[in-house]
């Protein structure tokens, strides 16, 4: 049974878009646009769903949670080549300086990028009157990710395009009593 939610679909999409715009333009000198919005709901996605990206592309996912009036978790799934490009831009490095085994460097950069994105999202929530605290970022690597609906939370997937490369924001959120 899903809860009624205090934030509208339009507001949530605007929150996601603003947090991406702010971080990408400030830190990466790049822009990204929303290509697809998916509502992950119990009645329509009982079996779960594939992440809307090429299942064979290696991905890196940054995760940061937030706790407060609204509690939730946000995942940023990024194609690995885009993650490496973002790392290079953040750290002023060339792609050849980052070896395939240099997971720590890319993980940390994407963790920080996720932290900034979720921080911006959280700050916008705070401006709407929902105070919350953030958790420390964590990182997942893999491919062929699937997403399942959450029983008591709202889950929305936003697929973005950044210069021909895809990344996905997965927002999972519920209101605390």
């Amino acid at each position: 049974m899903q809860q009624t939610f205090p934030i509208t679909e339009v507001e949530l999409e605007a929150l996601a878009k603003n947090s991406i715009d702010s971080v990408f333009s400030t830190m990466l000198d790049r822009s990204a646009s929303i290509k697809q919005v998916i509502k992950v709901e119990e009645d329509t996605n009982t079996e779960g769903m594939q992440l809307p990206v090429d299942a064979n592309t290696p991905m890196i996912a940054g995760t940061v949670g937030f706790l407060g009036n609204l509690t939730g978790i946000i995942y940023i799934f990024m194609e690995l080549p885009l993650a490496v490009e973002a790392t290079c831009k953040l750290l002023d490095m060339e792609a050849h300086e980052i070896s395939d085994d240099d997971h720590e460097l890319v993980n940390d950069a994407i963790g920080e990028l996720t932290n900034m994105i979720v921080g911006t999202f959280k700050n916008d929530l705070s401006n709407k009157g929902y105070e919350c605290r953030m958790t420390i970022p964590s990182i997942l690597r893999g491919s062929n990710f699937s997403i399942e609906p959450a029983e008591v939370a709202m889950r929305r997937i936003y697929k973005f395009d950044c210069d021909g490369r895809s990344f996905v924001i997965d927002v999972l959120m519920k209101e605390e009593n």
Binding site: T26, L90, G111, N115, M116, G119, N123, S126, N127
Partner: protein, 373 residues
Amino acid sequence: MRLKILTVDDSKTVRIIVKKSFKGFDCEIHEAQNGVEGLAMAAKVNPDIILLDITMPVMDGVEMLTKLKSDPQLKGIPVIMLTAEAGRENVMKIAKIGVRDYIVKPFKEDVLVDKVSRVVDLRPAGEAEPVQKKIDDPIDILVVDDKPAIIQQIKDGFGHTPWNVHGVASTGEAIDFCQKKLPDCIIISLSLSEDAAITLFRIIRSNAKTKYVPLFGLSVKTAVEEQARAQQAGFSTIIHKPIDFEDLETKIGKAVNLDASGKYFDMGEGFMTVKLPKSCNAAVVNEVSTYLKSKTSEAVNAGISKIIFDAQGVASLNMDLIKLLLHSMKTCRDLSLKYALTGNDVVIEESKKFEESKDWKFCDSLETAKASI
């Protein structure tokens, strides 16, 4: 002494970005991954400023800040919070503990540099121990004036010097110029439209790289209103048109801290010659006095024991110059140095009018003076 910046952040990425941001400045960056390491590092290196994240494992930024402010040795260190968490609650909480400022991630590197430079004296790299330029070294002077004739006049006025005068017509071009090349001195026309001179002054003063560049306002003497506005904004020196280039050269020399001793002192063949210029006004006499002691020591250390005060080029003798010569001659006597004076007809005639100088003996050439001692 190099500035010490401590960055406390669990993200290596942020610590690298901080390092990158301050690459062009004379500072050393120390790093810590959490509050515990941050406190230990602060006690060890005694940084000039701390950039502190909030959300960190082991000990977060708020706890570290609280402990820092309760430590008598560390509580004076200014702290700027660098955090992804803004929000009223957070800002209020950290403000109560005592931070100088906070920066919300994401942030532009120049915002970080700007905020830090408002708290500590951040200087571009290589400026910490500057090699003093000499008066005959090339320096770069940027002239911002929409009248090409004035720019040309200044170029011509400094034609006899090795100084490079660069002219631009607008504030935008001036900012672009400063980004590419840091001028030694900037002269801004106060008559630029829409108070552009004041706007440019503020931009230059608020930028960490250009904030120490001497800024001169250029104005017609009668335009008192624009001069008053410029002085109110903080212009320390206003140059009047028509420009007195001798005066401007002296002012630039002082503002840029050029070693002007070469203009007045010459050593060779066992003599030190003090060349007194045509106009020996109070500013010039003061400048010569500034160098006199060190140059006399330099001469003595080089084995020189004879000094000639060459007033052949002086247009008119005045009390400031007489006092300078009296003082110099006394120094020579105290140090057992031999000395002689040269002068032209005007100087010799005027010297007889003053009680202090009426008995001075002048030679009519350097050769005669050298032969006399």
